[in-house]
């Protein structure tokens, strides 16, 4: 049911030319995905999706929309090669998904690697019940440091692009 809703909202985002409406629909889309994650017992991811996807990115897109026109400019006609490429890629992805292992099967490759170690040893190693926090901050600490650096770099990039004053229009006259 939620997946169906997701498809409907996704189609609406593609079809609308009103960017403000598309932003709001994207927020609904993120919130629905967050609900799906919560149904799969992935509380950490659900919280992140709700806070970042539905909350902050919507606000940031709105801040960008304050600088741009509200409506998309449309070009007449559609590109046929684009349609062909998208159809082939979609068909290939659907075909590949048939080869995916059974959902939730304990014999899946993803459950054979380091997962069991984390599940069995986290409490003995750290004494904390949230395995996600333990994996993120301790077992895979260097990855998380990389993420923090990525966020700082993103901040620096936006600063470099936007922190200058806009050029005065009358500059050329002088």
């Amino acid at each position: 049911m939620l997946l169906l809703f997701l498809v409907v909202v996704g189609l609406a985002v593609v079809l609308t030319r009103d960017l403000l409406k598309a932003t709001m629909l994207f927020a609904i889309y993120s919130l629905t995905i967050a609900g799906l994650f919560a149904l799969l017992d992935a509380g950490d991811v659900a919280l992140t999706e709700a806070a970042v996807g539905a909350g902050i990115s919507t606000v940031l897109i709105l801040a960008v929309l304050a600088l741009t026109p509200r409506f998309e400019t449309t070009k007449a006609g559609h590109s046929l090669p684009a349609l062909v490429i998208v159809t082939i890629t979609g068909a290939a992805l659907v075909y590949a998904s048939l080869d995916l292992p059974q959902f939730g099967d304990p014999a899946n490759p993803v459950h054979q690697h380091v997962g069991p170690y984390y599940i069995e040893q986290t409490y003995a190693d750290m004494g904390i019940p949230n395995m996600v926090a333990a994996v993120l901050a301790s077992y895979r600490s260097i990855d998380t440091m990389g993420e923090a650096v990525v966020i700082l770099t993103a901040g620096l990039g936006v600063y470099a692009l936007l922190a200058t004053r806009p050029r005065r229009r009358d500059k050329g006259d002088r």
Binding site: L47, T48, I56, A66, L67, G127, N130, A133, A137, I151
Partner: protein
């Protein structure tokens, strides 16, 4: 938007709760879903809501721009220094178990400190994003650049005026 009584009352009620929930998600992250990333976003969202109501200048009086820049770097620095502390005390880089005599307590301390670093960086970078975009709009308005009202329903005026 200071004139809209409903918005002001609701925001005054919500902002402390958002900040409190941010702190909860930050420091309760080992026991319940959460961690530095989500907490940073929640904290920044509280500040952004404040800016919506009271304006950017008041928001920057609470947390000046220089402080935001400094905090963004300090968060990553805190993360790296905790890691360095681990290797100075005889373990590997980012090995928390040598930080305190009891390895479990040391792991927990390391996780909390590292997540705090992530939270500080995320919160300040999100605030920075919003600050830069919002100020760009204000500056463009002050410079008299062609702008459209984002809430303008009329499609015929969707192009920026020349």
């Amino acid at each position: 938007m200071k004139d809209n009584a409903i918005l002001v009352v609701v925001a005054r009620f919500l902002i402390p709760l958002m900040m409190l929930f941010g702190l909860y998600v930050q420091f309760h992250g080992e026991y319940s879903p959460g961690g530095g990333f989500q907490a940073g976003v929640l904290f920044a969202a509280g500040w952004i809501l404040f800016v919506f109501i009271y304006g950017l200048e008041t928001g920057l009086r609470i947390i000046p721009e220089r402080v935001i820049y400094a905090l963004a770097c300090l968060g990553v620095l805190l993360y790296g220094l905790i890691g360095l502390l681990g290797s100075l005390l005889g373990g590997h880089y980012l090995d928390f178990s040598v930080l305190l005599p009891a390895p479990r307590a040391a792991q927990q301390a390391g996780i909390i400190l590292v997540e705090l670093g992530v939270g500080i960086t995320v919160a300040s970078v999100v605030m920075l994003f919003f600050l830069l975009f919002a100020r760009r709009r204000a500056e463009a308005e002050a410079e008299g650049l062609p702008l459209v009202d984002p809430l303008d329903e009329d499609e015929s005026r969707r192009e920026p005026r020349p």
